[in-house]
Amino acid sequence: MKIALFITCFNDLLYPDVGKAVVRLLNRLGHEVEFPEDQTCCGQIHFNTGYRDECVPLVRSFDQAFDGFDAIVSPSASCATMVRHHHETVARHSGDASLVASVAEVSPRVYELSEFLVDVLGVTDVGAVFPHSVAFHPTCHSLRLLAIGDRPRRLLEAVSGLELVELPGATECCGFGGTFAVKNADTSVAMGEDKIGALIGTGAEVLASADTSCLMHLGGLLSRQRSMVRVMHLAEILASTGPAR
């Protein structure tokens, strides 16, 4: 199986450790991973904000970069959603039949990390060790569009030493929402503050999620409030073999 890592522009620049964790994790499970260096961005920020024309070249370059792989694995539920659900819309919008065809070819091969581990590789115990209490935030895209369900939970429950704590109101949006976070910053912050209020009430040491975008927002609020709770991507926990540094 030829596996590509779709890092996402976000993780590339702000959270490179998440990409490194995915590589470590998949290597440990016996799989080679390639990183097609032509990849840039899936176009989600443009698409969701209404800049559909500007999105077309990004979809085109995505398909070129990832052509020929059996599986394209991403540590982002929301970017995986963009490719799987919306690239087709953008391709049709472009009126370019060859783009429609290449999207039909490439998009279905994109997997969010936990989907790939559980559904394709068939593992839930990835041999990780992480002796900390963790609250998991199931992001909206992973819940409602990718419908990855309890896969991240099953993976976390199998991690040695990890205590999974219930996050009240877990399925409610954290308030990030892409450009919503800046275009409606006050509402976004109000939603995020309620979320971290619930989080702090659990006493968890770590907040984990399948999307660093939500974690950037929640982590940014926690950091401003000088909270000791750390935010970590699911991949970093699954790649871990001991206590957090």
Binding site: I7, C9, N11, D12, L13, L14, P16, G19, N27, E32, F35, E37, D38, Q39, T40, C41, G43, H46, F47, N48, T49, G50, Y51, R52, E54, C55, P57, L58, S61, A65, C140, H141, R144, L145, T171, E172, C173, G175, G177, G178, T179, F180, A181, V182, K183, N184, A185, D186, T187, S188, V189, A190, M191, G192, M216, G219, G220, L221, S223, R224
Partner: protein, 500 residues
């Protein structure tokens, strides 16, 4: 109002609502409002969950509901004229109105012809949309809202903030104060010792309104559904104020949006399951009234049905957006919306708040045909696209999909207008250019990484006094500093070292 019975200062209207982010900021600052909203939305969405879980066939009902409504739109002229013929054959009079002004003029004419100077009203979103009460007031006709929540809003000289529970933003103490202060000027006063107990407040409303029901000559209602096949019109409600209005006055005027049609009588087997469970979270609402034309010796002897367009045919123009015409105004999407829960309904600047309002209002205001104003243009962005609304919608309106579609319309219409969008279009173009080429992205990342080292402290960037959208991020949130080495640089160095 303009519509105030005692000729007092004008009632507020939605006109002049600022763009959503600004209106939301004002609402967020109101702690009492946020507590009231959180309590109310949490209560009702928990109840709804139970009512829906009881139906093992819920998804099948949703699929049927969506398809029936799509069928209505596909056969719209045929079904509308069928309804018209059947209502007429049963002794009703059908009027058509292109817009609110036409509808208001028709209604005022009917009221005047009936020799009335006041009307009792059943709660109706459509008449709010066309500001019928204000129009009637200009004609010297008083319109009394009889739904308890609408009464609270009307007496409180307030604006509604929810489709189902318009006074959801008010708590019991506020309601008691409004009743004590305002009922007397509108009719029978509230008892001087009125408490804040919901039971006592409801009793005060019962007594206050009963005299109005018994003397009214004309009632005005909306319609939840109208059956083309039979000419039957119906209203669902809880309190019995609807039955009073639909039964006692001599003349009944129903103002109905043209999308409220159903093709057949049988279709109610779907919608009478979907609506109550989604709306009030009950198996069935306490009262549903159905009537076909007039019945000699029973109820109103004159029935007028006003079929209202007012932008609905504009909604038809967008092939993605037109699914909003399926809406049965249940308000389930409001109750699950995290944005609505925090800012309430009035920030949306329209009688249709929440997720459905964010897609319906711009379309009713003609976004498919011409550029809309700034407040309207802000509505499609009043969502984090979390998708909770689509999950609960009984007629499967994919609200996030329509929001994105409308955002595309807004960007096309407003283009580079700095007043609406600030630096956003420039940033979007720049990002698109950078992302279209990995080499350029790499360069941009190195620049960002360098900048991050300058402004970052211990891997994070704290308060940055920036203007515009970036500044909006930093007011309450930090940001991780861009990595010194991006992932792609790390990968390249790792590859060149021959690791795998």
């Amino acid at each position: 109002m303009s519509g105030s019975p005692a000729g007092r200062e004008p009632l507020p209207t939605f006109a002049g609502t600022p763009p959503f982010p600004e209106a939301a900021r004002t609402a967020l600052a109101d702690e009492q409002l946020r507590r009231n909203l959180r309590h109310a939305t949490t209560t009702i969405r928990t109840k709804r969950g139970r009512a829906v879980a009881e139906r093992p066939d819920w998804e099948a009902l949703r699929l049927a509901g969506a398809a029936i409504k799509d069928d209505v739109i596909a056969r719209w002229p045929e079904l509308l004229t069928q309804l018209e013929a059947n209502v007429t054959a049963a002794g009703g009079i059908v009027h058509w109105a292109r817009d609110g002004a036409e509808a208001n003029a028709i209604v005022a004419g009917i009221v005047r012809a009936a020799g009335a100077t006041e009307v009792v009203k059943v709660k109706s979103m459509t008449t709010q949309e066309i500001e019928l009460n204000e129009a009637l007031a200009r004609e010297g006709i008083e319109a009394w809202e009889t739904d308890l929540a609408e009464l609270i809003v009307q007496l409180g000289r307030d604006l509604p903030s929810h489709i189902l529970v318009p006074a959801i933003h008010r708590n019991r103490d506020e309601i008691r104060d409004i009743f004590r202060a305002e009922m007397g000027a509108a009719g029978r006063p509230a008892p001087a010792d009125l408490s804040n107990e919901p039971r006592e407040l409801a009793e005060a409303a019962r007594l206050h309104l009963r005299e109005k029901f018994l003397r009214a000559k004309v009632a005005i209602s909306g319609a939840n559904f109208a059956i083309a096949e039979t000419g039957t019109v119906m209203v669902v409600e809880s309190e019995g104020n609807g039955r009073m209005c639909l039964t006692l006055p001599e003349t009944l005027v129903t103002v109905m949006g043209i999308e409220k049609l159903l093709p057949t009588w049988r279709d109610l087997e779907v919608f009478l399951q979907l609506l109550p469970r989604s709306s009030t979270a009950e198996r069935m609402n306490p009262y549903t009234s159905m009537w076909t034309g007039v019945t000699p010796g029973d109820g109103p002897q004159a029935f007028h049905l006003v079929l209202l367009d007012n932008g609905r045919t504009d909604v038809l123009l967008d092939e993605v957006g037109r699914q909003a015409l399926r809406c049965i105004k249940c308000s389930a999407c409001l109750n699950v919306c995290p944005v609505y829960e925090r800012v309430g309904g009035r920030a949306y600047g329209s009688p249709y708040p929440g997720p459905i309002g964010a897609i319906l209002t711009p379309q009713l205001r003609g976004i498919a045909r011409h550029p809309v104003d700034e407040q309207t243009a802000s509505l499609p962005y009043a969502s984090s696209l979390c998708g909770a609304c689509f999950e609960v919608c009984p007629v499967r309106i994919d609200i996030p999909e329509v929001l994105i579609q409308l955002r595309t319309q807004v960007v096309r219409q407003h283009g580079w207008r700095a007043r609406t969008f600030g630096e956003e279009p420039v940033a979007m173009r720049a990002l698109s250019t950078a992302f279209a080429n990995p080499g350029r992205l790499d360069l941009a990342e190195r620049v960002a990484g360098g900048a991050g080292r300058v402004v970052g402290r211990r891997g994070r960037i704290g308060r940055l006094p920036l203007p515009g959208l970036l500044g909006a991020w930093f007011r309450r949130r930090d940001l991780p500093a861009p990595a010194r080495t991006s992932f792609r640089r790390w990968w390249r160095s790792r590859s060149s070292r021959g690791e795998s």
